[in-house]
């Protein structure tokens, strides 16, 4: 019988016995979901610009010269793994297991997020060294409008996670903090969705087409 458990909002739902006020929590999380969807429209615009700019390289370097697929694979792996570790942390939260275990999963998520950022920044620096920055062509302007925008989101996510970890160490696992962690997890999984678009369209699409 699975009828007992109902989904109130996106993301992992807490059990009925949780100390979090369920209807209020559902409202707050739905509001955050609306923010994520408006963010998706923003990314959609950047994708549209990028697609129309494929080929507008002004005789500068294009996808064939610039992309490092080993780095792309590592970045993708780090993000996917960090989604799993974030999910594991949320499971600890839902089933009231040891806070220490949750902190370890969250630290793993943070480290994977920072690994992703390090690899991405390293790629950008290598591109700058080839005089392939946003100033070079319309194509590269569009590239640097979109990919670092996702990177900026990951940076903010890492910062958010650090703040939450500090709050956790001060206040302990209070109900208010639980809903914050749930929203953080939504944000983090959402960034994965954008990343799928980035490696499919920005990297593979342009590489195949350009």
């Amino acid at each position: 019988m699975h009828a007992v458990e109902v989904n109130q909002h996106p993301g992992l739902n807490l059990t009925q016995h949780s100390d979090v006020h369920v209807p209020k929590n559902a409202t707050v999380i739905f509001g955050f979901w609306i923010f994520l969807m408006s963010d998706m429209v923003f990314f959609g615009l950047m994708f549209a610009i990028y697609i129309t700019m494929i080929g507008a390289t002004a005789d500068g370097p294009g996808p064939k010269e610039l992309f490092d697929f080993t780095s792309l694979a590592l970045q993708t792996g780090a993000l996917l793994l960090s989604s799993l570790t974030a999910g594991m942390a949320l499971l600890v939260l839902k089933y009231n297991q040891r806070q220490r275990t949750m902190v370890l999963w969250l630290l793993a998520t943070l480290i994977l997020g920072l690994t992703f950022l390090t690899l991405e920044v390293r790629d950008f620096i290598a591109m700058f060294a080839m005089d392939a920055g946003p100033w070079r062509s319309g194509y590269l302007s569009a590239f640097f409008g979109l990919v670092p925008l996702h990177g900026l989101h990951v940076t903010m996510g890492c910062l958010w996670l650090v703040v939450l970890l500090i709050q956790l160490s001060i206040f302990g696992m209070v109900p208010k903090l639980k809903t914050r962690f749930m929203r953080f997890a939504l944000f983090w999984h959402f960034l994965d969705l954008i990343w799928i678009g980035i490696f499919s369209i920005v990297y593979f699409g342009a590489w195949t087409y350009g």
Binding site: P10, M40, F47, I196, F204, T208
Partner: protein, 106 residues
């Protein structure tokens, strides 16, 4: 319902989602870099795999499904997707047409 049983089900959801995501990602990388197919085929395959992976992430990580309580969440994501599709396809259509008329290669 037994708490332990529910825990295992939730755990399986994340692990299955992760494994599916890894398989789909590896398939997309192979299709783009290792398959040697014609560009048109590669684009369709990568696009198709991307769409499946999006739904896997939504289903297993964001827990969006067709159960009754989540209808608003699903409505919102479908509506937003519609807006994004109109923006993206409209932009490509209009600017692609412009490029063609100006004899530029996009």
């Amino acid at each position: 319902m037994d708490n332990k049983e529910q825990y295992l089900r939730d755990l399986r959801t994340y692990v299955y989602g992760f494994l599916l995501a890894v398989v789909l990602t590896v398939a997309a990388f192979w299709a783009a870099l290792g398959s040697g197919w014609a560009p048109g085929t590669v684009l369709s395959v990568v696009g198709f795999l991307g769409l499946i992976q999006l739904s896997v992430h939504l289903r297993y990580f964001l827990h969006i499904d067709r159960s009754r309580q989540q209808r608003e969440d699903l409505d919102l994501i479908l509506f937003t997707s519609l807006v994004v599709l109109i923006i993206v396809l409209g932009t490509i259509w209009v600017l692609g047409n412009l490029h063609e008329r100006m004899h530029m290669h996009m």
